[in-house]
Structures are given as C-alpha cells and as structure tokens.
C-alpha cells in the first residue's frame, strides 16, 4: 500500500471515524477542519515514528507539512529510515 493510503487509513481510523479513507481528499486541511488538534498531532507523529522509524523527537518539523495527508506522506517518505535526505 502507498504511504498516502496508509496515512489516510490511520487518520480516518483514529481521528475522523465518520469518513472513509477513500473519501478523505489528499489535500484536505486537517487543522482547519479540526481533524488534527495539538494532541492528535502528537499522536500522529508518534504513529509516524513507530511505523516508519522516524526519530520524531530529534528532527525539526515544518508544521505546514502536517496540514494535509499528502504533506504527511511526503514527510514520512523523506524521513523514514533508509530515505535519501
């Protein structure tokens, strides 16, 4: 499964249970829609760290990339272990 689909699955399963992952647009603003709050952002980052082995506590993170599912997928792909930085 592609990263973007995994991201959408996680978000809809955890924070937007009334939307199916196929119906979640890749460019939806997760902050403006209230899907991501400060606590759920921490949870999302925790999932990124665990699942893709990203040292989330030791890298500077641009909050803009966490705004949309496609931004999150790009963040994961550029930081996961083995990614070219």
């Amino acid at each position: 499964m592609s990263t973007i689909n995994e991201v959408k699955d996680y978000i809809t399963e955890k924070f937007a249970k009334d939307i199916s992952s196929e119906d979640l647009p890749s460019d939806i603003d997760l902050n403006a829609t209230g899907i991501l709050t400060s606590v759920s952002t921490v949870q999302l980052l925790g999932w990124c760290g665990r699942t893709y082995r990203i040292p989330i506590n030791s890298i500077p993170i641009d909050p803009d990339v966490l705004k949309t599912p496609e931004g999150i997928a790009k963040f994961i792909d550029s930081h996961r272990v083995g990614a070219d930085k």
Binding site: G49, R50, I54, N57, D62, P63
Partner: protein, 373 residues
C-alpha cells in the same frame, strides 16, 4: 567534555555546612553561576548529535549529581532552564548562523538565557497567548507581556514564543531569539517567589521589539512543536535534578535518625521512622530508572509524551512527599528557621506547576489514551 573540571566543581560544592545553607539560598549568586559555568555543565549537550543523544545523557547525569551535591535548588533550576530553553533549543532548531552567534556564550554560561511563554491570561492555556510577532519587511515586530520567566532578570537572551502573523495570515506560534538589551525589551520587573529564591523570575515586557527574521528559530509556525521538544528536555533535566535532591534528603535523614536518640535508642530503629526514608528511596529508584529509560529512548522512534508526563508527575509529587518525610523525621529541629528543610519544601512545591502542571499532564495522558472528554 571535561569530566575533571566537573568533578572538581562537585568536590568544591560539598564544602559548606548545613548551617550555611539557608544563607546561600536567599538570592541568585553570579559567583556560583560562574563556577558552575566553568565546570562545563552548559557544554554538556555539545555532542548531542541527531541520533545518539550522548550529550543529553551526560547532562541528565550531571544535573542529578548537582541536585545531590548542591544545597541550592534554585541554582539547579536556573541551570536546567539555561540548558533546555537556550542551549538545547538552539542546537536542535536554530539556523547555523544563530548557533554560531549565540551558542558559544550560552554554553560557556557567560550569556544567561531563558524562555518566555507564560502570560497573565495564558498559563496552562498556552495557545491563548496574546503576544504577537508581526512580519514587516525583514523584521518581526514583537508585542506582549510575559510573566513567571525564569532567569529573565539576569538574562541576556530569551527565546520568546509568540503568535505569528505574516502578510495578514496567522501562522501559529513561532520561537524567536531576542536579546534583552534590544530596544523595547524590559526585564526589570522581578517576581519574588516563596521558594527557589536563588532562581530569579520576572516579567518580560515587549514593546514594538524589532527582531530580524534571521532570529526566528525553526520554521514559521513551528513554535508549539519546538516547545514540545524543549519541554520534554526541560522535564528530563529538572526532574533528574529532583532525584538528586531527594538523594541528598535521604542521606541527611539517615544521618539524623541514626544520631538522634529517644527512649534510649536511635529513632531510626523504630520502623515507622525508618519507613519514611525507605519510601523516599523507593521513589528515587523508580523515578531515577524512568528518567534514565527516557533519556535512552528520546532520540529513538517512540512518542515519549506519556512516559515524560508520568515521570514529571511521579517525581514532582515524590519530591514533595520526601521533604515532608524528612521534616517529620527531624522533628521540631526540622521546622526551625535555621533548618534548610522548610526551604526545601517551598523549593519542591512548584515542581507540580512548572513545565506543564500535573493536573494538565494527567488530562493529557487521559486524552492520549483515547479517553473521550
């Protein structure tokens, strides 16, 4: 990293006797700060690295030792603030240019730093802060008033967190490195506290302060993410210090209960008395192990919010309990003005308030666990 310098300073600190302690803790001592700086403590994070975190572990070990050795809890608290708010923040998030300009003096301890988040209407509710940073050309203009800022009265730099507005758009919180000597910055209003008196706290007034864009730390709008990481390190260090302080109390209490005799025998031979000390030692073992485990894991792949909140709550509350136990086993002598124990109590109490209040952290753990509120 020079272990020899550090050991020498620790030896030096073992000097003053108990009766001198209350005197030592009345106010901030620039001389003591200077000697602590020379010990190399503030340079401990220099081999922080992105993946290893060796520097952080060294800093945690040293702050615990400082807590155990120094009678001055305020000094330890101010030192932790310097390490987390400024040294770690710059190392972790600032541009190379800012690092080159400000890190050497921060790590030498010659420039004292702090961080300014809290405001009158934004304590626990950080996002309610009113301080703004408005981008005008290539400078941000900062306006607002901060309160309870550790080290502010003696600081030459502060990391100020402010709501950022760029081209009329709200970007969220950002962090800025501000020199206290800049026009529009006023750190002259101290806020005398009941405890931690040797750690100066004050207000920070920011009036039309022009901050070059190059002084923004990290991405625009990344303030909350940066603060989250800074607070994680502040908690790790501050409560490692608390563990050391509890070790100091245990040693003092053991000496006292062995020496003091009632009913023809040492009071420690009464298990009810001994148990009060044992309880503190149990908390030292548990809290110390948790701090070490977090220091080992923090640069890995796990989200650390729950363990760090748990450690903070557990150690801050155990710290207060252990001072109360120490006062109890010292009897009336522990309540005298000349005793350091009542000061220890006032120093320990705010541990449940700063770096995120314990009630708020409990709520956070519940939310992270998925408990709907």
């Amino acid at each position: 990293m020079d272990e020899e310098q550090w050991s020498m300073f620790m030896k030096e600190l073992r000097g003053p006797g108990e009766e001198e302690e209350p005197e030592l803790r009345k106010g901030f001592s620039l001389d003591l700060w200077g000697r602590l700086s020379e010990s190399g403590l503030f340079a401990s994070l220099s081999d922080m690295g992105r993946d290893g975190g060796a520097g952080l572990k060294t800093a945690v070990r040293r702050v615990r030792e400082l807590g155990r050795t120094s009678p001055d809890r305020g000094l330890t608290f101010s030192a932790v603030t310097q390490l987390a708010s400024t040294v770690y923040c710059l190392r972790g998030f600032a541009s190379k240019e800012l690092q080159e300009r400000y890190l050497p003096a921060a790590e030498a301890g010659t420039a004292i730093g702090g961080h300014a988040i809290t405001e009158a209407a934004a304590g626990s509710d950080v996002m309610n802060m009113a301080t703004t940073a408005t981008l005008r050309g290539d400078t941000y203009v900062l306006d607002g008033t901060k309160r309870f800022i550790t080290n502010a009265p003696v600081a030459s730099t502060l990391v100020v967190y402010a709501k950022t507005v760029e081209d009329g758009e709200e970007k969220g919180l950002s962090a800025f490195l501000v020199e206290t000597a800049w026009p529009g910055v006023d750190t002259s209003r101290a806020m005398p506290t009941a405890g931690l008196r040797s750690s100066p706290i004050g207000e920070v007034l920011l009036e039309e302060v022009e901050v070059p864009t190059s002084h923004r730390i990290g991405y625009s709008g990344a303030g909350l993410l940066i603060l989250d990481q800074v607070m994680k390190r502040e908690i790790l260090l501050a409560f490692a210090g608390n563990i050391g302080e509890m070790e100091r109390l245990v040693q003092r209490s053991v000496d006292h209960v062995n020496e003091r005799e009632q009913f023809g025998t040492s009071i420690g031979s009464n298990q009810l008395v001994a148990n009060r000390i044992v309880e503190s030692q149990i908390a030292i073992e548990l809290g110390g192990a948790l701090i070490e485990s977090i220091a080992d894991r923090i640069d890995g792949f796990d989200e650390m919010t729950i363990p760090i909140a748990a450690a903070k709550i557990f150690i801050s509350e155990a710290n207060v309990a252990s001072v109360l136990n120490a006062i109890q086993v010292h009897g009336g002598n522990g309540y005298l003005e000349t005793s350091p124990l009542p000061i220890d109590l006032m120093d320990a109490l705010p541990g449940a308030i700063y770096s995120g209040s314990n009630d708020l952290l409990r709520t956070k753990i519940a939310t992270m666990l998925g408990i709907v509120n």
